[in-house]
Symmetry: C2
Subunit: 432 residues, 2 copies
């Protein structure tokens, strides 16, 4: 980490990229030829950073620079460029556990806050595939494996506590991006805020949510859980825009929101975006069977997460403080440990549902909207789709006991599809 801005920091444009890469020979070598042979494309798509794809005679690279402000908001919203440091720290920390499910890093420039990494092509952003109704057969199980490995191996279940403490010493400094999560996910959507972007037909829903003390209690619990439950290293922003896919490959990108927090957060974030895709789908171009594919993938994702997380734990043979080996070596104790493993995963599920709901609400009533809904041109139709997602999210937050397992969640999706724009009607129908 360094202070920013440092005097040498310059915002790179597409035109600057060849000279930049020429100055770093180990990167230039990957491209082959010279600067004149390289094609540069500006492909920035997320909310925060510059991203360039570069092709040369021998290969390609992805060049990502942290800008000193939020790209989509402009210079009026300054943002700590050290997020690039945290993204690199996150990616390196997980590399031994997630393998090819993350992009390969080639370089981190601590002065320019530029990460140069594997170019992912012909990968597309998973969100785009979801909108187009293209089933991607591996992604749910790949992301399940990614989250299972990260949640297990960076927790106290897999190491002496000193390892997580060292991670905390680093990632508790990633405060600028956590401020975004705390405000945009857990706080703004339940209050009047200039940053909220509420589409007019949803004003009644937004107003109901702001007045709903049960919901504000539930979100307070979620917020405190996020702030205090230091279980494992989180990606922190694991939505369908942070995942690149082909039919044969999955890559999780953009770990700049990394944080030591509740393992259920990444799980819930991923499921939230499948749930929202489900509610949006009827208003997209016809894609027969795609809603059913989404629900099947939600079931697969959770089942695979559970299997793989438990699998890592059962086969773990190292020394860890969570459940010391010498406490659970005897056969009876080992049998009890198996119950405790299942209870741990049940707790993760409960947290995941809570965070899933929080993530849905922030994507509908908060600042950062998602394309799944935004591509629905008709504002009323879009609001109808969003209202279903909001009604489900509220139900999950306020009535967690109704969602003891993933089946209960999936079974409940259709119940809220017709929630409609009048929340009072929905309250009568669905709240009791």
């Amino acid at each position: 980490m360094r202070d920013h801005p440092n005097d040498a920091y310059r915002i790179l444009t597409a035109a600057d990229v060849p000279a930049y890469l020429s100055s770093r020979p180990h990167l230039a070598e990957r491209l082959g030829g010279g600067a004149g042979d390289w094609q540069v494309r500006d492909v920035a798509d997320g909310n925060l950073n510059s991203v360039f794809l570069v092709d040369g005679p021998a290969g390609g690279l992805c060049v990502k620079q942290a800008l000193p402000y939020v790209r989509v908001a402009g210079e009026s919203w300054p943002m700590d460029v050290n997020r690039a440091f945290f993204e690199v720290s996150y990616t390196r920390r997980l590399a031994p556990f997630v393998g090819v499910l993350a992009p390969k890093l080639h370089d981190f420039d601590e002065t320019q806050f530029v990460i140069t990494m594997e170019k992912l092509e012909p990968h597309i952003i998973l969100r785009q595939a979801m909108i187009e109704g293209r089933p991607m057969p591996l992604v749910a199980r790949d992301v399940a494996e990614y989250v299972a490995a990260a949640s297990f191996y960076t927790s106290d279940l897999a190491s002496p506590f000193e390892v997580k403490a060292a991670d905390q010493a680093i990632f508790t400094q990633n405060r600028a991006l956590q401020r975004i999560s705390v405000d945009l996910v857990f706080t703004d959507p339940y209050a009047v805020s200039e940053r909220n972007r509420i589409t007019e037909p949803l004003e009644a829903w937004a107003s109901c949510f702001r007045a709903d003390i049960d919901l504000k209690e539930a979100i307070a619990r979620a917020r405190l859980a996020y702030l205090t439950r230091a279980q494992s290293l989180l990606h922190g922003d694991l939505h369908t825009g942070s995942i690149m896919v082909t039919e044969a490959e999955t890559r999780v990108i953009d770990g700049e929101f990394a944080w030591i927090g509740p393992s259920g957060f990444d799980i819930g974030t991923f499921i939230a975006h499948y749930v929202m895709a489900w509610y949006a789908k009827p208003w997209h171009a016809p894609a027969p069977g795609f809603q059913d594919w989404i629900t099947a993938e939600i079931l697969t994702f959770w089942a695979e997460f559970e299997t793989r997380f438990l699998g890592h734990w059962r086969s773990f043979r190292g020394s860890a403080d969570g459940f010391p080996e010498n406490h659970f070596a005897e056969p009876v104790a080992a049998a009890r440990l198996e119950s405790l493993r299942r209870a741990y995963v049940s707790d993760l599920f409960r947290d995941a549902m809570m965070f899933m709901a929080a993530k849905i609400i922030r994507r509908v009533l908060g600042f950062a909207q998602i394309a799944d809904f935004l591509v629905i041109d008709d504002e009323t139709q879009r609001a109808e789709a969003q209202a279903g997602a909001l009604a489900l999210a509220r139900s999950v937050l306020v009535h967690p006991e109704r969602y003891p397992d993933i089946a209960a969640l999936v079974a409940d999706l259709p119940r809220f599809a017709g929630a409609g724009l009048d929340p009072a009607r929905s309250w009568g129908t669905f709240k009791a």
Copy 2:
């Protein structure tokens, strides 16, 4: 923090202290006169450090040096001297909130790892007063205020989350002393360990505890809570040996185990040592009514903690992320917030009971024994006293639902006083 040993580090003896203080004029000035006028006493009493009291014509000082090993174990057990840095960081962080309940720091020498602070005299260690059967009228409410202020003002209830995150970035580096807590409190007593000091008449209890899967499950939950529940800045070792008292004054000392963890930990530690004093008391010199005084003080401590913690929260007017002001401003929401405050305190109580029990067990079956029991010369009598405390601790860990409030705990103390040396008998009588 610095690496140790640094070349300039020297272990101070009593004979070295005057020259050392002469070299730091702002300290010498507090003593008055010159080095030849100063009286130095070696008063080391805890397990870890050197402590000297120095008197001069104008005043006194306490000089505490972190040794590079555990004082009571000798050089074979090395220990990070940076604990002095963490103690100072802890004391400075809490000073605005706890005022005169902590000693005043005059100096921290980062090379010699020496803290020079207010000399506490005629204060005695609270444990000594408990053993002598001398009631100290202020201590329970003073410590309640200390813990209430620390638990509230260093939590997400009283600050933007960045403040706690900055504390975590510091205190997650205090790993050497956390290793002691994790091993000695949560792990060793439930396994065969060379460090355990089990008195012979308690071998049957120790053996039962090692085989008790319900207990090992409960302690696993406690250990994970300690490792993952990042609520507030803890003292980390708040027993009756870390508190100095007169009838008119209370000072909490020795914050070197500081850690961001569950607020219930300090509460539970304090109560644990009152509970153990209660079980030890019948075997000390007669002190009529002192057991009743102890139980009254336990009730007072919790009631005062609750009142003061809630008082801090109710009167708090700043900006904090835990319960954002704009979520709970309306009268109905404000009324709900009051329920949430009470629920928060109930959660702290539940945690406190769990940690209390863990602390009792580690003081009886683990490495660091306490004088309250050790002063009972007759080994069988001592074991009888300890068995009562063990039986209560097990009940609290395995049957937490039996202890919904502090009254239930206090009412249950006599039930286990006759637990005896045969745990099988106790199991039959008490377990069901």
